[in-house]
Symmetry: D2
Subunit: 344 residues, 4 copies
């Protein structure tokens, strides 16, 4: 049993981490922090955890009092900028770090500063850290001390474009990612724009001028393509709780490409990537509360369209973090992540 | 054309008032105030109003700059406690007042202070003011200078119990009001408990320990019964935008009472109360965006059950306010309130 | 007052037509047909219409008994293939026809047969008929005896691409329309795939292999471009009742094009098309229950993105049909269509 | 590993049984039947099951070809009336039966016939069968060959009233159960009244004249009270997928009763019943996808109110069936039922 610390456990990724880790056979939650809820029982904030023996007794701890240095791994489910400040001394104590925020996602500290409006606190550790997309960097993650867990959109879009870019069959100068997200992706916070009467029975686009996931996706796609790509990324908000649906468009450059075979071959051995048979289309609920990413691909004329679904809180956040932890500690990659999706 | 002022126009009752008054043939919106949005166009906050000639040019005005004293009537769509401070000098200027908050609902200033945690600012005007439930006090409203517009739950519950209490056929010591409300009833504010992922696909009770509408309902029912009633009131939150559904239970004391006839006779002439034929049940969307209250009644053994639906923002707030205005200014009572409900 | 007939009034476009026409000052609903509901009161099926004096007394009539030939105009809110059979004899009787289904949308009878799996019943009347998109064919509609009312997606996509194609500033060989629709667009029918637990908290794509709106959109865009366009059209289903959101992508061919100005100039005089200021993004609820189409346009690199919202039952169906009727009978184009959108 | 048969696996309770049993460590799904989907893979109908090794290969079997007699237990997730026909020969073969429909719920065959409009096919087995509410009949269930799994409403209402009736502190002549259910409770079928645009943003009552769960609840409550009770039961439909919320009212007959203590004592040892601390209120999502029933109780004057939440597909159907199976086969009662609720 490895010892787990969670910093910032009151958000949606925090409670999802709790849910997954509480049911993971190889870990023990040692401490969970929250300044605001310090001393309060976790199950007071999240009554769904009341009936779990271990969790029902767990209380939030003030960050300064938490025995983080005694943990084997610490998850940061905090706002951007927190993890990079705490990481140096924890790493020095031999603690491994998985950051669910953006501190260890962008490779270039200057780009981090541009998009997150703060200088990076530990560029040398950023250089060492690994971007935690297991399907692309399984071995590096297994060796890493610090993992930057990918954003929800970047996970879906990168895994959706990857087979095409790897095969080199599309025009990378005009890649289009039309993405739709459930509202939990915006976090657990009291903002007017997120209240039910503003969201329900409504559909909108947002952040079109520049979403922070744009450089993260571009970084990944450019690495796959071996050159700078041209990406158009449009996020939309769907009146649903969980789920991301990414509709990706690219122009084929190789008219003979068998896109279905390209996808099936690329992901044949991946436990969490499910390529649908030709003609089947995915829906977000088919992965609800699970770590699976499901996709389909089709050609229409010269345009290839990829449809990708994931649960933004699982494969797009907490589940992928657990998958990364499994790799970092030599557990079977799927440990604790095999619960079936909830339908309906 | 009478001149209208709206104080506090950025909430849901405010924008609903705007929508209704903009389409009312006998009024002109002279001014609308908001401290926070002062100078900002109304249509910047509510883009649905962009294409309306008059509204698209209207801007929010700081309260102190608004020509309220030059209006014929001022609507307060503000938090509790604002209207009672502004009312004395406006009434002195000859302006009529319709308060959509609670300042002029409870007849007893002590009870107001108990429930709203502030002393009443003008008890002498409270004494003069009229509780604006047209179906019960049409003539008094027509003569009033100040109208306290009823709360959303109190409108549904009072109109639902009224025929039974008037006919004297139920045991008033145990009246039960199991009420369900759409989320817009909680107002347009950024609270964590109201965000979409907390509300959607969920159903909860709230305020069971003591909701401010409880004394308001009790006051009305006791007046109808001619004595103190025993009321159990349970509000619940429904994952929908608009609508109140009240399920009312009482024990019949007169076994021969024809409850269907009692309701049909009681509301035969009411333009906004629709008693369904026996065996038909109401649903909230059947009154969506309209001022109609629709209800059905049935006996099961000794228990009479009344089902009531209303749109909490219209008959439960802005629409009833316009209905009151029509009475106060001698307009046809239904003026500006005849638009059909939106289904689906 | 012109006399109106509605054939097939039990679907969502039917009840929306009823709602709009009942509040239209220049028309009288003479008859409404439904084989299944023959003899039943309209307000029994749609209780929201109970309180309307004229509608509450209206009953469905069997098609063969309906005095359609005595009407000035007949609306067909029927499945595809009904209107084209009834139209010849009605037109001969001097009745004008507005078909809300697809019988008079595709100019080429062969294409109609290919997509709708039935031969066209009156190709000569198809040749005479006018495609009812007022912003593109106002004068022809005013003269028409038969109008094919556009589909919901085609209205949004065509009005979204029109300014760019008219200005000739995009590569028409790769136009992408990523569209999202509320569920009412699928019609009022008891299908398993449409029930609430299948739709709610879920997002899916559908009809990707070939949606019937594809040739209709392509026909319109090709006419605008003066040559065959390459269109990729992906419809998605959103867990909301009303609304279409179309996200359109095209590659700019003219680097100096001021797309904002192109849109503003193109639609400056249109009463139902609202171009948002630069930087503002539309949302579907901002047009809920109204005939307005609202859009924004932006450049990101060489890609121009257009965001379009409409209410699929109003501008995408019944509202546009009334707009066409207004043109055909010389009424002010906006008559009966000025009600403000319902928000929240 | 015991061998499981599921008859009728295409409904919501069927797929929920699959989900729970697939993750149960002591069982193996031997066969699942569906006449309509015979030969089709289960994962074609429910793509959420694609990534599960065993389930992804499972196909539906025609009922007559299914090796039901070789199973240790057969679950019927069928319409009412199917199980009672198949049960006699299966029981004779030594197979245990758990019926999720109503065939073995009502003790009196005449009452069954009255409410389900068919004579009971095996009244002698009905007499032997046990009503499967473990909290009330744990020992009988452990010995049973046939278990009638309770309805969703009856589970919530009976467990909500039980402590009060057992303690004898309320007037049983007027018990009120105001119940609200998510739409999955109506089953997986293509009915017009269930489609999303009819349900969403709407709230309605239904079946008020006589719901089939009424006699089932009354039977249970009367047994608890030791005499006939007077029950008023009002079911409502909530625009959400899963969840039942029951608000129960009764009049206290013993003024000194400590209702909080009565509930806490009654359910102190129950693994799936969670009594909330005084002042806390339950919400349906706190039990989403779990077998927990959560409740709170409060006194207001002479009226005691109980609030109960459950997941209608788990504790209200498939989960309780698995709980019963665990008892019948001597497994730990919570086996396979410990997954945490999904929030948000």
């Amino acid at each position: 049993m490895i010892q787990i610390g969670i910093v910032g456990g009151t958000g949606y990724t925090g409670v999802e981490l709790l849910r997954l880790l509480a049911q993971h056979p190889k870990v023990q939650i040692r401490t969970i922090t929250s300044r605001q809820e310090s001393g309060n029982r976790v199950s007071n904030i999240f009554p769904n955890l009341r009936t779990h023996a271990a969790l029902s007794a767990l209380s939030f701890c003030a960050p300064e009092d938490a025995p983080l240095a005694e943990c084997d791994v610490v998850f940061f489910a905090t706002p951007h900028g927190v993890a990079m400040k705490e990481t140096p001394k924890l790493v020095e104590s031999g603690v491994k770090i998985i950051d669910l925020a953006a501190d260890f996602r962008l490779r270039d500290p200057a780009q981090f500063e541009e998009w997150y409006k703060m200088p990076h606190a530990c560029p040398e550790l950023l250089a060492e850290s690994v971007y935690g997309l297991p399907e692309l960097a399984r071995d590096e993650i297994a060796q890493a001390r610090i993992v930057g867990n990918p954003g929800c959109y970047p996970t879906a879009v990168q895994l959706g474009f990857f087979p095409l870019l790897k095969a080199g069959v599309v025009d990378v100068s005009m890649l289009i990612a039309d993405c739709k997200s459930g509202v939990s992706g915006a976090g657990r916070k009291g903002e007017l724009s997120l209240i039910h009467p503003e969201i329900s029975d409504n559909f909108s686009a947002y952040g079109v001028g520049g979403h922070r996931h744009h450089p993260e996706i571009e970084q990944g796609l450019s690495a796959m393509a071996g050159k700078a790509v041209g990406l158009t990324f449009t996020p939309h908000l769907v009146p649903m709780i969980r789920g991301i649906f990414a509709t990706l468009y690219a122009k084929l450059t190789d008219d003979r490409a068998d896109v279905q075979a390209i996808f099936e071959n690329c992901y044949a051995k991946e436990p969490f990537v499910d390529v649908l048979p030709e003609g089947r289309l995915p829906e977000t609920r088919s992965v609800r509360a699970s770590n699976t990413i499901r996709l389909s691909v089709m050609r229409r004329g010269a345009v290839v369209t990829v449809l990708v679904v994931e649960d933004n809180l699982v494969k797009g956040a907490a589940g992928q973090a657990v998958q990364n932890m499994n790799l970092m500690f030599g557990f079977e990659e799927t440990t604790g992540l095999t619960a079936l999706p909830i339908v309906p």
